[in-house]
């Protein structure tokens, strides 16, 4: 199935590392991550509210979380995390598919949602992706998830398919 991308590439996104102040006045570092960050990410996903899961991820159990992280922290993936002191508050990832395009997902712990961290994570992830030469990024989002959909639209994603259970969105970098 061929995916429809916006005609025009998006502008330049900021690259990690960045430090932002969120809407709760917390200082948040947005930095790149790899498999060396596995333990702190396991900790974040063990704290993750199961009600915030989407389409079966993140997994719930320790072992399944580790197995899943192994895939998405692989060398050919791009990852950034948002850190508040030593706590990982959010994580965003780009994972390659078979067509040299990348699937995006983002997770923010409940206590840190609604404070602008998600937007900072997505923008910084896309900046990191641009620096790595990634030019096609897509994602799926549940059709009831309005906050997520408007976040993605604000960043420059456009809806590429709305025919199935989930909405598919895409951006050209």
């Amino acid at each position: 199935m061929t995916r429809t991308y916006p005609d025009e590439p998006a502008g330049e996104f900021p690259q990690p590392p960045r430090t932002i102040t969120d809407r709760e006045d917390r200082t948040i570092d947005v930095i790149s991550a790899d498999d060396a960050d596995t333990e702190s990410l396991v900790e974040m996903y063990l704290d993750f509210d199961p009600a915030d899961r989407a389409q079966g991820i993140p997994p719930v159990k320790d072992e399944a979380i580790r197995e899943w992280l192994e895939t998405i922290l692989d060398d050919d993936c791009v990852n950034v995390v948002a850190k508040h002191d030593d706590t990982v508050a959010g994580h965003a990832t780009l994972v390659p598919d078979n067509e040299d395009e990348h699937e995006l997902a983002i997770f923010v712990l409940q206590a840190y949602q609604g404070a602008g961290i998600g937007t900072a994570l997505v923008e910084t992830l896309l900046g990191h992706g641009q620096a790595e030469g990634i030019d096609h990024v897509w994602l799926t989002v549940e059709r009831w998830n309005d906050p997520a959909i408007s976040l993605y639209e604000k960043v420059g994603f456009e809806i590429s398919s709305a025919e199935s259970f989930e909405i598919e969105m895409a951006i050209r970098l």
């Binding site: 899943w68 598919d97 990348h102 799926t140």
Partner: protein, 123 residues
């Protein structure tokens, strides 16, 4: 119980076939297998027919094997299940995206939303 199993040529649909055949040889349920071309898999009907027939032969069971032609296999499955009073539709599906999200194909989605018959999704 009268079971209607749809196989569209995806790997998950063959897995569902294998699991259903195993289960039916234990329960003695009355199974009908329907094959179709799933637009999400590249297999043509002939290839699907061949692979399905092989698995059926291995199982030692002899369920009737039927074809659905046309572009709306989901809608046809629902029609057959209702008009011939099947008790359950069985489908394989729910593959994973590159980063692990579960995704349902168009046929599975259509059947789940439109069937009046109970549906079992094997994933």
């Amino acid at each position: 119980m009268k079971l209607l199993l749809g196989v569209g040529g995806s790997e998950l649909s063959y897995q569902a076939l294998t699991e259903t055949l195993e289960r039916v040889s234990e329960t003695g349920d009355e199974l009908t297998v329907v094959i179709f071309e799933n637009e999400d898999s590249d297999a043509d009907l002939e290839t699907v027919q061949q692979r399905v027939q092989e698995r059926i032969d291995e199982s030692g069971l002899e369920p009737p094997l039927r074809h659905i032609d046309g572009t709306s296999p989901g809608s046809e499955l629902v029609n057959i299940a209702e008009s011939e009073e099947f008790d359950r539709i069985v489908l394989g599906g729910g593959g994973r995206s590159p980063l692990g999200k579960i995704q349902l194909g168009p046929v599975v989605e259509f059947v789940l939303l439109n069937a009046q018959t109970p549906v079992t999704l094997i994933r």
